[in-house]
């Protein structure tokens, strides 16, 4: 009995002080049942009560049990800290009085399967970060809490600002029947632009320029393969890296529209081909890029490169494509701006002369760089239906963003991934803005004080503070010899990505090609997997010479017949205003 009373009091206090009014169906009887049944998800803001506090701490500790992705090889936590007890969880406890528990943890490779199982067995953690397909599945299974009111009442102005900056796209993605069912993360636009990374020192060695078009790219790749650019006297260099086995993709697609490493995205766009994306056809109707003749042309081009041994002969079978970059065997690969965070740190540690530079190349026949672009939101925080404190997740996100802006956390004492329920909230132009700011700062045009009022670019301050310790003059050149990464590897990783990876994005006038749609239509749920499998298999076979180029035509026919035609109509309907 005593326990009941305490619980009831705890609940009442929490309800009055923090939650704002709980549901309007909250009868006194409900109150007496205490703690466990707090009106579920129906939080209506009652004018008579205090407003919801996005940052306030709970009076009584509140527990949230989450599913979390943990990298088992990560060694960044100081000794004594654990994924459940580290600077992030302690800060959350202190600032919000929230106890975080783990319903399950999984490595990146097993996370998808773990979540699938949680959905199938209807046993979700209180909150978890999921992808678009999983979110949709959960909504259909009616497993998620309605977060519409929570978002209204609890989302911090900063986060609302970032979500609004996407022009409504971010919220549209998570709105089902007019209800917000998840909190979307927002990633920078630059993540969706795939650049050509080249070993500049190899280029100089063979006396060539960065390839402007496909013809020149072939020439460079041949020189890299045949002229022993690493000078070790062995025939062991590779022109262009290819996707790895397992999760490797030849191109990003409308469902996973960004951050494709070691694919051929930039090459496809040089042929004006956009496989995997829904684009406007000649008749103005939506059409799937993979079935267009341009894609056939690009596949034929890639096949030609592969047949000559200019693309990694072990593409699609190799287990880890980054090895070739790290151990200095590959001369080119295609990936987004953030490769400092990718293989380049290890590549430069292995060989301080490895001068990886990024280019917005190759260009198409009109001389344009026309990359496909991504949807800003690919990860979502969802809350289980029936969880007593659905606003906890939102408050943790508010707290995350606030502290990232204030630079509270020290990444060397546990990487940012250890923040529970972390998703990225980045202004869409973060990379471009920071890139330009750093250049203005280096050239002396502006000082730190000029950026004192800039809000929202969360790491700008530390970027500016650190840049001169790792970047040496001349400040208008970016070759590896002008950097001193040994001074601060953490800062170098970020700055090298921002500058070398950001420069082509800032300096190129890009003709961006977005997908008309970034989510599945109803029929896709049952048919897409098999269509996609057919596509992946066929395209790989064409490129690697296991099937003739003309089998592409058969693929197009099969694709249409096995549901592609109907899906295209569905997409057209979904796009009708």
């Amino acid at each position: 009995m005593k326990r009941n009373v305490t619980g009831a009091m705890a609940f009442t206090m929490a309800a009055v002080l923090v939650l704002g009014a709980c549901s309007n169906t909250n009868t006194p009887e409900n109150n007496n049942t205490a703690g466990t049944n707090t009106g579920g998800t129906n939080h209506n803001n009652n004018a008579s009560s205090e407003p919801a506090d996005p940052f306030g701490a709970y009076e009584e500790p509140v527990t949230i049990s989450i599913g979390m992705q943990v990298d088992p090889t990560d060694k960044s936590l100081p000794s004594g800290d654990t994924p459940l007890d580290n600077q992030y969880t302690r800060q959350i406890k202190e600032a919000l009085n929230i106890d975080v528990e783990h319903a399950f943890t999984a490595s990146a490779a097993n996370m998808r399967q773990k979540i699938s199982l949680a959905i199938a067995s209807n046993d979700l953690p209180d909150a978890v970060v999921v992808n678009a397909m999983e979110m949709r599945q959960m909504v259909e299974a009616d497993q998620l809490a309605d977060l519409t009111q929570i978002y209204e009442d609890y989302a911090s102005p900063e986060i609302k600002g970032i979500l609004d900056s996407t022009g409504g796209t971010a919220l549209d993605t998570v709105t089902f029947d007019g209800k917000i069912m998840a909190i979307p993360g927002v990633q920078a636009d630059a993540d969706g632009v795939h650049l050509l990374w080249i070993r500049q020192d190899w280029l100089d060695e063979v006396g060539l320029e960065a390839p402007k078009n496909m013809g020149e790219l072939e020439e460079v790749a041949r020189a890299f393969v045949e002229q022993d650019p690493d000078g070790n006297g062995q025939d062991d260099t590779i022109g262009l890296s290819g996707p790895q086995s397992g999760d490797g993709k030849m191109y990003a697609n409308f469902l996973e529209s960004k951050n494709n490493l070691y694919g051929f995205d930039a090459i496809f766009s040089a042929y004006d081909a956009y496989p995997g994306f829904w684009i406007e056809g000649e008749d103005g109707q939506p059409v799937y890029g993979s079935i267009l003749p341009e894609t056939k042309g690009a596949l034929a081009g890639l096949r030609n490169l592969y047949a000559q041994g200019l693309i990694d002969p072990e593409m699609a079978v190799r287990e880890a494509s980054d090895e070739l970059v790290i151990n200095g065997k590959s001369g080119m690969f295609i990936a987004p701006w953030w490769m400092g965070y990718g293989p380049l740190t290890n590549a430069v540690k292995n060989n301080p002369e490895a001068n990886w530079q990024a280019y917005a190349l190759p260009l198409n026949e009109e001389g344009e760089f026309s990359p496909h672009t991504a949807t800003p939101s690919t990860e979502f925080v969802v809350v289980r239906k029936g969880y007593e404190h659905p606003e906890v997740a939102m408050k943790m996100l508010n707290n995350l963003y606030k502290n990232e802006m204030e630079n509270t956390f020290d990444p060397s004492k546990g990487g940012p991934g250890y923040y529970p329920l972390r998703v990225v909230f980045a202004p869409s132009d973060e990379i471009e803005f920071t890139n330009i700011a750093i250049k203005e700062f280096l050239s002396g045009e502006k000082t730190m004080d000029d950026f004192a009022d800039v809000k929202g670019y969360k790491l700008l301050n530390s970027d500016l503070e650190n840049i001169k310790s790792i970047k040496q003059e001349p400040y208008d050149q970016w070759g590896i010899s002008t950097w001193t990464p040994d001074a601060n590897w953490g800062a170098w990783t970020r700055s090298y990505s921002l500058m070398v990876g950001g420069n082509p994005i800032v300096e190129t006038d890009m003709q961006e090609v977005p997908s008309l749609i970034y989510e599945q239509t109803p029929l896709m749920e049952s048919r897409w997997v098999n269509l996609k499998k057919m596509e992946d298999e066929m395209f790989l076979k064409i490129v690697m010479g296991a099937a003739p180029v003309d089998s592409f035509d058969q693929f197009v026919e099969d694709w249409k017949r096995q549901g592609g035609e109907q899906i295209t109509q569905e997409v057209a309907q979904a796009l009708q205003p």
């Binding site: 959905i119 009616d142 997997v529 298999e537 096995q562």
Partner: protein, 296 residues
């Protein structure tokens, strides 16, 4: 009476086995209904709407279904045959060895791979057969062009069967060796007296002596006629070899657990069970008719 009490203990000892079978094999069978539903995890098995045979209709429409069934059968049958013959021949050869210590050594070494999981062996085999791996280096020394083995759909089933035999033949050999030691040595002595050579001994004494064991193993392995080895293939395959290497189990895993198409995956799984049941019944009947062997 005494005998009855004695038997009770045996039944008691069987209990954990039955319990295990019930919990892990009988109860999950009710999940079959998912194949006939629009399964909604939120509503569960009891609340989801019925779909009739729709998923089965789509299943037969899919080119994949036939492909994975054919692949599974081809790989599994090749494995069954190879895993019966290779250990048998090896056991006979080992049996002819006169130096006991050498026999023991060989026996120990060849069955070592049995204890490694496919996660580890998969990586090793992929490396061995990679573009710059030992196999291709050997080939290059003999003047062959390098081959990317695991990208060739036509080679994949043979690589799978070959590596499986390499992993398992040592272990299977043990059973035959045990059967060989069960043959009465007096028979050999008598045959030698009558002037029989090694081949005669082999043909008239050794082979008939282990016939029962060989048939038993063959019949038992027929239970696996639709199990082509999920963990092995899962660790070795890639999209390039789907056309010959994708088997029912890997397909069901990708469809059901990675792509959340529970109904279709269950339907294919159910079809596998039905076909498997028929095949096993037929082969059991054949074993009974042809060589009068029965388990029950």
């Amino acid at each position: 009476m005494r005998i009855k009490g004695f038997a009770k203990h045996y039944y008691l000892m069987l209990l954990p086995g039955y319990l295990w079978l019930f919990v892990f094999s009988i109860i999950p069978m009710f999940g079959i209904v998912i194949a006939f539903q629009y399964f909604n995890p939120g509503k569960g098995v009891f609340g989801s709407d019925w779909a009739g045979l729709e998923h089965f209709r789509y299943m037969f429409l899919l080119k994949d279904t036939r492909e994975v069934f054919v692949n599974t059968l081809v790989i599994a049958v090749m494995k069954i045959i190879a895993n019966l013959l290779v250990p048998l021949v090896f056991a006979l050869m080992l049996n002819e060895l006169r130096i006991t210590i050498m026999k023991r050594w060989i026996q120990t070494i060849v069955y070592l791979p049995h204890f490694l999981s496919w996660v580890i062996l998969g990586g090793i085999i992929l490396d061995l057969f990679s573009y710059n791996g030992p196999v291709n280096q050997l080939g290059a020394a003999l003047g062959f062009e390098p081959v990317l083995f695991f990208a060739k759909a036509e080679l994949f089933p043979f690589l799978v069967v070959g590596s499986d035999v390499w992993k398992e033949f040592g272990f299977n050999t043990i059973i035959y060796l045990a059967a060989l030691t069960g043959i009465n040595p007096a028979l050999y002595e008598a045959a030698s007296m009558d002037g029989a050579g090694r081949w005669r001994n082999l043909w008239h004494i050794t082979l008939p002596g282990i016939r029962t064991t060989a048939v038993l193993l063959a019949v038992l392995s027929l239970g696996n006629v639709l199990n082509a080895g999920f963990d092995q293939i899962f660790n070795l395959y890639n999209p390039l070899v789907y056309s010959t290497g994708d088997i029912i189990d890997t397909w069901v895993y990708r469809t059901g657990l990675l792509n959340l198409q529970y109904e279709l995956a269950t339907a294919v799984g159910l079809l596998k069970s039905v076909v498997g049941f028929i095949l096993i019944s037929v082969s059991y009947y054949l074993a009974y008719r042809l060589i009068n062997y029965r388990i029950f």
